[in-house]
């Protein structure tokens, strides 16, 4: 038997109704339970500040906050308000968006170690307002927030990070 390589179709075949088709857009809504730690994290983003959780036993402060210390296997002890500044841990310069559009000015996703958290603990976010060639690992940056009335309890309430002035 000859292998079946499929049947070529053109847009005209479909638009003219020569080929029958079905299109469907399901409603895929979801609600993800944030839990106490991320719920509080989002609330504090709306307030315009970054918070972490601290474990007294191992003396670590982590962000994003978790309710539980995964090293000591016990509940973390307290909330800590972190600084509005941080250090670039790593970054990437992207001239293509997630949906493959070309960018003249790149997006610069980066892991920012937030001051006040333990060394190596940070969040993935964006760096902007900078010459892409000037971005370096170890560079000091500061958080740039949306105006309070536009904040909604989302990681995008923090617009981006820019070089510390």
């Amino acid at each position: 038997m000859k292998p079946n390589f499929g049947t070529p179709l053109s847009s005209a075949d479909i638009e003219s109704g020569k080929v029958f088709s079905v299109s469907y857009e399901p409603r895929l809504e979801y609600a993800w339970d944030t839990g106490p730690a991320i719920g509080r994290y989002l609330q504090e983003l709306k307030n315009g500040r970054l918070v972490g959780r601290k474990c007294h036993k191992c003396d670590r402060t982590f962000i994003p906050p978790r309710h539980f210390c995964e090293l000591c296997f016990r509940p973390a002890d307290e909330w800590v308000v972190l600084e509005n500044t941080g250090t670039v841990n790593t970054f990437s310069i992207c001239y293509v968006t997630w949906d493959m559009k070309k960018l003249t000015y790149p997006q610069i996703p980066a892991v920012i170690e937030v001051d006040g958290a333990s060394e190596g603990y940070g969040i993935l976010h964006l760096i902007a307002d900078v010459d892409p060639n000037e971005v370096k690992v170890g560079m000091k940056v500061q958080a740039v927030w949306k105006p309070a009335e536009e904040r909604e309890g989302s990681i995008t309430d923090l617009k981006h990070w820019s070089p510390l002035k």
Partner: protein, 150 residues
């Protein structure tokens, strides 16, 4: 600095943009053209397995042979199973309930799933049912209104 003890962000809500576009395929095309133009329910026969698939299929599920022998089956058959749906997709109560019927049309070995018509209390497994067609057919499974009891 004091941090408020409660928060309002207990759930993160969103939706997934998702769309699908499906062309019915070679056997599907034959099935829907027969349905629209001639009001026939078209099956595909595998002579080796002595099996007739409805709707017509491109391949035999049993021996994987390509199926080219299209054959109309009867508009009547046996109710193999049915379900009474008292809730719609949104969870709203349906009164009377929707009937989803599985019918093996005479001449076919596989079954066809479609809406059941009429009084839900009259439906039973083993009853005889027949296809009710629409007059204004356009090449869709909805060209069949459903099954009605004989």
């Amino acid at each position: 600095m004091r941090i408020p003890a409660d928060h309002e962000h207990s759930a993160w809500k969103g939706n997934l943009p998702f769309g699908s576009f499906y062309t019915v395929g070679l056997a599907g095309q034959a099935f829907f053209e027969a349905l629209r133009d001639r009001g026939e329910i078209l099956g595909a026969r595998c002579s080796k397995c002595e099996w007739v698939y409805v709707p017509a299929a491109l391949f035999c599920e049993r021996c994987f042979a390509e199926l080219k022998d299209y054959t109309p089956v009867a508009h009547e058959g046996d109710v193999v199973s049915f379900t009474l749906c008292h809730l719609d997709l949104e969870g709203e109560r349906l009164d009377p309930p929707d009937i989803v019927a599985i019918v093996r049309l005479d001449g076919a070995q596989s079954v066809l799933v479609h809406r059941g018509l009429g009084d839900p209390s009259e439906w039973s497994i083993g009853a005889r049912a027949k296809v009710r067609l629409r007059d204004d057919r356009e090449g869709s499974i909805l060209d069949i209104e459903g099954f009605e009891l004989i």
